[in-house]
Symmetry: C2
Subunit: 178 residues, 2 copies
Protein backbone atom coordinates (compact mmCIF):
# COMPACT_ATOMS: atom_id res chain seq x y z
CA UNK A 1 0.00 0.00 0.00
CA UNK A 2 2.94 2.31 0.71
CA UNK A 3 3.90 3.75 -2.65
CA UNK A 4 0.56 4.37 -4.26
CA UNK A 5 -1.01 5.53 -1.04
CA UNK A 6 1.67 8.18 -0.66
CA UNK A 7 0.82 9.34 -4.12
CA UNK A 8 -2.80 9.63 -3.08
CA UNK A 9 -1.88 11.59 -0.04
CA UNK A 10 0.33 13.91 -2.03
CA UNK A 11 -2.66 14.56 -4.25
CA UNK A 12 -4.85 15.18 -1.24
CA UNK A 13 -2.33 17.51 0.36
CA UNK A 14 -2.24 19.68 -2.71
CA UNK A 15 -5.98 20.14 -2.16
CA UNK A 16 -5.73 20.79 1.56
CA UNK A 17 -7.46 24.11 1.64
CA UNK A 18 -10.89 25.06 2.93
CA UNK A 19 -13.77 24.21 0.65
CA UNK A 20 -15.11 27.71 0.45
CA UNK A 21 -11.98 28.51 -1.54
CA UNK A 22 -13.08 25.99 -4.14
CA UNK A 23 -16.46 27.65 -4.26
CA UNK A 24 -14.74 30.92 -5.07
CA UNK A 25 -12.61 29.30 -7.71
CA UNK A 26 -15.49 27.73 -9.58
CA UNK A 27 -16.56 30.90 -11.30
CA UNK A 28 -12.96 31.57 -12.34
CA UNK A 29 -12.63 28.15 -13.98
CA UNK A 30 -13.85 27.01 -17.36
CA UNK A 31 -17.24 25.33 -16.86
CA UNK A 32 -15.87 21.96 -18.01
CA UNK A 33 -13.79 21.61 -14.82
CA UNK A 34 -15.51 19.58 -12.12
CA UNK A 35 -15.22 21.20 -8.69
CA UNK A 36 -13.68 18.92 -6.09
CA UNK A 37 -14.70 18.31 -2.51
CA UNK A 38 -12.26 17.15 0.13
CA UNK A 39 -14.38 15.27 2.61
CA UNK A 40 -12.08 15.89 5.54
CA UNK A 41 -12.53 19.65 5.09
CA UNK A 42 -16.27 19.42 4.51
CA UNK A 43 -18.15 20.78 7.51
CA UNK A 44 -21.04 18.28 7.60
CA UNK A 45 -18.57 15.41 7.59
CA UNK A 46 -16.31 17.05 10.15
CA UNK A 47 -19.25 17.59 12.47
CA UNK A 48 -20.37 13.99 12.13
CA UNK A 49 -16.89 12.69 12.82
CA UNK A 50 -16.42 15.03 15.75
CA UNK A 51 -19.80 14.17 17.27
CA UNK A 52 -19.04 10.47 16.93
CA UNK A 53 -15.63 10.93 18.52
CA UNK A 54 -17.01 12.94 21.41
CA UNK A 55 -19.75 10.35 21.96
CA UNK A 56 -17.21 7.54 22.03
CA UNK A 57 -15.14 9.49 24.49
CA UNK A 58 -18.16 10.07 26.69
CA UNK A 59 -19.41 6.51 26.37
CA UNK A 60 -16.44 5.35 28.39
CA UNK A 61 -18.35 6.86 31.28
CA UNK A 62 -21.93 5.80 30.74
CA UNK A 63 -21.35 2.57 28.82
CA UNK A 64 -18.19 0.91 30.13
CA UNK A 65 -18.88 1.93 33.69
CA UNK A 66 -22.68 1.85 34.00
CA UNK A 67 -23.77 -0.36 31.10
CA UNK A 68 -25.95 2.32 29.54
CA UNK A 69 -26.46 2.87 25.83
CA UNK A 70 -26.86 6.37 24.41
CA UNK A 71 -30.69 6.38 24.43
CA UNK A 72 -30.73 5.19 28.05
CA UNK A 73 -28.16 7.74 29.11
CA UNK A 74 -30.22 10.48 27.49
CA UNK A 75 -33.39 9.33 29.18
CA UNK A 76 -31.74 9.30 32.60
CA UNK A 77 -30.16 12.69 32.01
CA UNK A 78 -33.47 14.15 30.88
CA UNK A 79 -35.67 12.72 33.60
CA UNK A 80 -33.19 13.92 36.16
CA UNK A 81 -33.23 13.40 39.88
CA UNK A 82 -36.12 15.69 40.79
CA UNK A 83 -38.47 15.78 37.81
CA UNK A 84 -41.22 13.54 36.65
CA UNK A 85 -41.80 13.71 32.94
CA UNK A 86 -43.30 11.84 30.00
CA UNK A 87 -41.78 9.83 27.18
CA UNK A 88 -43.09 12.42 24.77
CA UNK A 89 -41.25 15.17 26.57
CA UNK A 90 -38.04 13.15 26.37
CA UNK A 91 -38.55 12.54 22.67
CA UNK A 92 -39.06 16.26 22.10
CA UNK A 93 -36.05 17.49 24.01
CA UNK A 94 -33.64 14.79 22.85
CA UNK A 95 -35.02 14.65 19.29
CA UNK A 96 -35.03 10.87 19.49
CA UNK A 97 -37.74 8.86 17.75
CA UNK A 98 -40.49 7.92 20.18
CA UNK A 99 -39.89 4.20 19.62
CA UNK A 100 -36.26 4.64 20.56
CA UNK A 101 -37.33 6.42 23.73
CA UNK A 102 -39.93 3.76 24.48
CA UNK A 103 -37.37 0.97 24.22
CA UNK A 104 -34.80 2.81 26.29
CA UNK A 105 -37.39 3.33 29.01
CA UNK A 106 -38.33 -0.36 28.89
CA UNK A 107 -34.69 -1.31 29.46
CA UNK A 108 -34.34 1.11 32.36
CA UNK A 109 -37.55 -0.12 33.98
CA UNK A 110 -36.28 -3.70 33.68
CA UNK A 111 -33.08 -2.62 35.43
CA UNK A 112 -35.14 -0.83 38.10
CA UNK A 113 -33.55 2.54 37.38
CA UNK A 114 -36.75 4.37 36.54
CA UNK A 115 -40.39 3.74 37.34
CA UNK A 116 -43.51 4.29 35.30
CA UNK A 117 -46.86 5.38 36.71
CA UNK A 118 -49.84 6.25 34.56
CA UNK A 119 -50.94 9.82 35.07
CA UNK A 120 -54.42 10.03 36.62
CA UNK A 121 -55.20 13.29 34.82
CA UNK A 122 -54.42 11.82 31.41
CA UNK A 123 -54.26 8.08 31.38
CA UNK A 124 -52.46 7.96 28.04
CA UNK A 125 -49.37 9.45 29.66
CA UNK A 126 -46.86 7.68 31.86
CA UNK A 127 -45.11 9.65 34.56
CA UNK A 128 -41.44 8.75 34.64
CA UNK A 129 -39.29 9.12 37.71
CA UNK A 130 -35.90 7.84 38.78
CA UNK A 131 -35.97 5.08 41.37
CA UNK A 132 -33.67 5.23 44.37
CA UNK A 133 -31.13 3.17 42.43
CA UNK A 134 -31.61 5.50 39.48
CA UNK A 135 -30.95 8.58 41.58
CA UNK A 136 -27.85 6.93 43.02
CA UNK A 137 -26.54 6.22 39.53
CA UNK A 138 -27.42 9.75 38.43
CA UNK A 139 -25.50 11.24 41.34
CA UNK A 140 -22.45 9.20 40.40
CA UNK A 141 -22.78 9.59 36.65
CA UNK A 142 -23.42 13.28 36.15
CA UNK A 143 -20.21 14.59 37.74
CA UNK A 144 -18.19 12.20 35.59
CA UNK A 145 -20.02 13.30 32.46
CA UNK A 146 -19.52 16.98 33.28
CA UNK A 147 -15.86 16.32 33.96
CA UNK A 148 -15.51 14.71 30.53
CA UNK A 149 -17.11 17.74 28.94
CA UNK A 150 -14.81 20.04 30.90
CA UNK A 151 -11.73 18.06 29.83
CA UNK A 152 -12.83 18.18 26.22
CA UNK A 153 -13.46 21.91 26.23
CA UNK A 154 -10.22 22.59 28.05
CA UNK A 155 -8.50 22.75 24.66
CA UNK A 156 -10.32 26.06 24.10
CA UNK A 157 -9.65 29.20 26.07
CA UNK A 158 -12.45 31.30 27.50
CA UNK A 159 -12.90 33.51 24.45
CA UNK A 160 -12.68 30.58 22.03
CA UNK A 161 -15.24 28.66 24.06
CA UNK A 162 -17.63 31.59 24.09
CA UNK A 163 -17.26 31.95 20.34
CA UNK A 164 -17.70 28.21 19.81
CA UNK A 165 -20.93 28.11 21.81
CA UNK A 166 -22.12 31.14 19.91
CA UNK A 167 -21.46 29.36 16.61
CA UNK A 168 -23.36 26.29 17.79
CA UNK A 169 -26.28 28.52 18.75
CA UNK A 170 -26.34 30.10 15.31
CA UNK A 171 -26.09 26.82 13.45
CA UNK A 172 -28.82 25.28 15.59
CA UNK A 173 -31.02 28.25 14.90
CA UNK A 174 -30.38 28.04 11.17
CA UNK A 175 -31.44 24.39 11.17
CA UNK A 176 -34.46 24.97 13.36
CA UNK A 177 -33.07 22.87 16.23
CA UNK A 178 -32.76 24.10 19.81
Amino acid sequence: MAARSDTLFAGASALSVRNEIFADEISARPPTTTPTLLLTNFTPFRLNRLATGVSEHLSEVYKQRFGLEIPEWRVIATVGPAFSCTAQHIADTTRMHKTRVSRAIAHLVKRDLIERASNADDRREMELRLTKAGRAMYAELIPLALERERALLACLNEEELRSFNEALDRLEEFLGLA
Copy 2:
Protein backbone atom coordinates in the same frame (compact mmCIF):
# COMPACT_ATOMS: atom_id res chain seq x y z
CA MET B 1 -49.85 17.83 29.04
CA ALA B 2 -50.02 21.61 28.92
CA ALA B 3 -49.95 22.63 32.57
CA ARG B 4 -47.38 20.20 33.90
CA SER B 5 -45.19 20.60 30.89
CA ASP B 6 -45.02 24.33 31.45
CA THR B 7 -43.92 23.62 34.97
CA LEU B 8 -41.17 21.44 33.60
CA PHE B 9 -40.04 24.10 31.23
CA ALA B 10 -40.07 26.70 33.94
CA GLY B 11 -37.80 24.42 35.90
CA ALA B 12 -35.58 23.95 32.90
CA SER B 13 -35.39 27.66 32.20
CA ALA B 14 -34.20 28.38 35.69
CA LEU B 15 -31.32 26.05 34.89
CA SER B 16 -30.60 27.52 31.47
CA VAL B 17 -26.99 28.36 32.00
CA ARG B 18 -23.87 26.73 30.60
CA ASN B 19 -22.88 23.52 32.28
CA GLU B 20 -19.39 24.66 33.20
CA ILE B 21 -21.08 27.02 35.62
CA PHE B 22 -22.53 24.02 37.41
CA ALA B 23 -19.09 22.53 37.64
CA ASP B 24 -17.95 25.68 39.39
CA GLU B 25 -20.92 25.60 41.71
CA ILE B 26 -20.39 22.06 42.87
CA SER B 27 -17.58 22.87 45.22
CA ALA B 28 -19.60 25.71 46.71
CA ARG B 29 -22.54 23.43 47.49
CA PRO B 30 -22.97 21.00 50.34
CA PRO B 31 -21.84 17.57 49.09
CA THR B 32 -25.34 16.14 49.51
CA THR B 33 -26.64 18.20 46.59
CA THR B 34 -26.61 16.29 43.31
CA PRO B 35 -25.23 18.35 40.45
CA THR B 36 -27.64 18.65 37.55
CA LEU B 37 -26.99 18.39 33.85
CA LEU B 38 -29.20 20.04 31.28
CA LEU B 39 -28.84 17.89 28.21
CA THR B 40 -29.61 20.70 25.78
CA ASN B 41 -26.61 22.64 27.09
CA PHE B 42 -24.31 19.63 27.20
CA THR B 43 -21.71 19.85 24.45
CA PRO B 44 -21.59 16.16 23.44
CA PHE B 45 -25.34 16.13 23.02
CA ARG B 46 -25.39 19.44 21.19
CA LEU B 47 -22.75 18.22 18.77
CA ASN B 48 -24.67 15.03 18.09
CA ARG B 49 -27.89 16.90 17.50
CA LEU B 50 -26.17 19.46 15.29
CA ALA B 51 -24.36 16.81 13.25
CA THR B 52 -27.61 14.91 12.75
CA GLY B 53 -29.40 18.08 11.73
CA VAL B 54 -26.69 19.05 9.28
CA SER B 55 -26.69 15.56 7.82
CA GLU B 56 -30.44 15.62 7.34
CA HIS B 57 -30.14 19.00 5.69
CA LEU B 58 -27.45 17.69 3.36
CA SER B 59 -29.25 14.42 2.67
CA GLU B 60 -31.90 16.34 0.78
CA VAL B 61 -29.21 16.62 -1.86
CA TYR B 62 -27.63 13.20 -1.98
CA LYS B 63 -30.59 11.10 -0.85
CA GLN B 64 -33.80 12.68 -2.15
CA ARG B 65 -32.20 13.68 -5.41
CA PHE B 66 -29.68 10.93 -6.15
CA GLY B 67 -30.86 8.03 -4.00
CA LEU B 68 -27.57 7.76 -2.11
CA GLU B 69 -27.22 6.83 1.55
CA ILE B 70 -24.54 8.43 3.71
CA PRO B 71 -21.94 5.66 3.26
CA GLU B 72 -22.40 5.73 -0.51
CA TRP B 73 -22.18 9.49 -0.63
CA ARG B 74 -18.94 9.35 1.34
CA VAL B 75 -17.47 6.72 -0.93
CA ILE B 76 -18.26 8.74 -4.04
CA ALA B 77 -16.92 11.93 -2.48
CA THR B 78 -13.72 10.16 -1.42
CA VAL B 79 -13.01 8.33 -4.65
CA GLY B 80 -13.56 11.53 -6.55
CA PRO B 81 -13.50 12.09 -10.25
CA ALA B 82 -9.79 11.71 -10.88
CA PHE B 83 -8.45 9.30 -8.26
CA SER B 84 -8.38 5.59 -8.01
CA CYS B 85 -8.22 4.35 -4.45
CA THR B 86 -8.87 1.34 -2.26
CA ALA B 87 -11.65 0.47 0.16
CA GLN B 88 -9.11 0.58 2.97
CA HIS B 89 -8.17 4.13 2.08
CA ILE B 90 -11.83 5.11 2.17
CA ALA B 91 -12.31 3.44 5.54
CA ASP B 92 -9.30 5.31 6.92
CA THR B 93 -10.23 8.75 5.71
CA THR B 94 -13.94 8.50 6.47
CA ARG B 95 -13.49 6.51 9.70
CA MET B 96 -16.23 4.15 8.61
CA HIS B 97 -16.05 0.46 9.49
CA LYS B 98 -14.63 -1.55 6.61
CA THR B 99 -17.79 -3.63 6.31
CA ARG B 100 -19.84 -0.48 5.93
CA VAL B 101 -17.49 0.66 3.19
CA SER B 102 -17.60 -2.75 1.54
CA ARG B 103 -21.40 -2.76 1.39
CA ALA B 104 -21.57 0.81 0.14
CA ILE B 105 -19.17 -0.08 -2.66
CA ALA B 106 -21.25 -3.14 -3.53
CA HIS B 107 -24.34 -0.97 -3.89
CA LEU B 108 -22.52 1.55 -6.05
CA VAL B 109 -21.09 -1.17 -8.29
CA LYS B 110 -24.56 -2.61 -8.72
CA ARG B 111 -25.79 0.84 -9.78
CA ASP B 112 -22.84 1.14 -12.16
CA LEU B 113 -21.53 4.28 -10.49
CA ILE B 114 -18.09 2.93 -9.61
CA GLU B 115 -16.00 0.06 -10.95
CA ARG B 116 -13.67 -2.34 -9.20
CA ALA B 117 -10.47 -3.74 -10.67
CA SER B 118 -8.03 -5.84 -8.73
CA ASN B 119 -4.61 -4.23 -8.50
CA ALA B 120 -1.95 -6.22 -10.33
CA ASP B 121 0.77 -5.11 -7.88
CA ASP B 122 -1.17 -6.32 -4.86
CA ARG B 123 -3.98 -8.64 -5.75
CA ARG B 124 -5.66 -8.25 -2.37
CA GLU B 125 -6.52 -4.68 -3.21
CA MET B 126 -9.29 -3.45 -5.45
CA GLU B 127 -8.77 -0.24 -7.38
CA LEU B 128 -11.90 1.85 -7.26
CA ARG B 129 -12.79 4.40 -9.88
CA LEU B 130 -15.91 6.30 -10.83
CA THR B 131 -17.62 5.13 -14.00
CA LYS B 132 -18.75 7.62 -16.59
CA ALA B 133 -22.16 7.69 -14.92
CA GLY B 134 -20.43 8.11 -11.57
CA ARG B 135 -18.42 11.08 -12.80
CA ALA B 136 -21.56 12.63 -14.22
CA MET B 137 -23.31 12.28 -10.88
CA TYR B 138 -20.26 13.62 -9.08
CA ALA B 139 -20.16 16.68 -11.30
CA GLU B 140 -23.79 17.38 -10.54
CA LEU B 141 -23.69 16.46 -6.87
CA ILE B 142 -20.59 18.24 -5.56
CA PRO B 143 -21.62 21.80 -6.43
CA LEU B 144 -24.96 21.22 -4.70
CA ALA B 145 -23.24 19.82 -1.61
CA LEU B 146 -20.80 22.73 -1.47
CA GLU B 147 -23.68 25.13 -1.88
CA ARG B 148 -25.45 23.53 1.08
CA GLU B 149 -22.32 23.91 3.18
CA ARG B 150 -21.97 27.52 2.09
CA ALA B 151 -25.60 28.25 2.99
CA LEU B 152 -25.15 26.65 6.39
CA LEU B 153 -21.99 28.57 7.20
CA ALA B 154 -23.48 31.81 5.95
CA CYS B 155 -24.88 32.34 9.45
CA LEU B 156 -21.29 32.97 10.60
CA ASN B 157 -19.23 35.94 9.53
CA GLU B 158 -15.64 35.58 8.36
CA GLU B 159 -14.07 35.90 11.78
CA GLU B 160 -16.61 33.61 13.43
CA LEU B 161 -16.06 31.02 10.74
CA ARG B 162 -12.31 31.13 11.16
CA SER B 163 -12.71 30.73 14.89
CA PHE B 164 -15.21 27.90 14.44
CA ASN B 165 -12.89 25.96 12.15
CA GLU B 166 -10.08 26.55 14.59
CA ALA B 167 -12.18 25.11 17.40
CA LEU B 168 -13.03 22.05 15.32
CA ASP B 169 -9.32 21.57 14.63
CA ARG B 170 -8.52 21.69 18.33
CA LEU B 171 -11.28 19.33 19.33
CA GLU B 172 -10.33 16.88 16.61
CA GLU B 173 -6.76 16.99 17.75
CA PHE B 174 -7.76 16.42 21.36
CA LEU B 175 -9.72 13.32 20.37
CA GLY B 176 -7.02 12.01 18.04
CA LEU B 177 -9.17 12.39 14.94
CA ALA B 178 -8.08 14.29 11.83
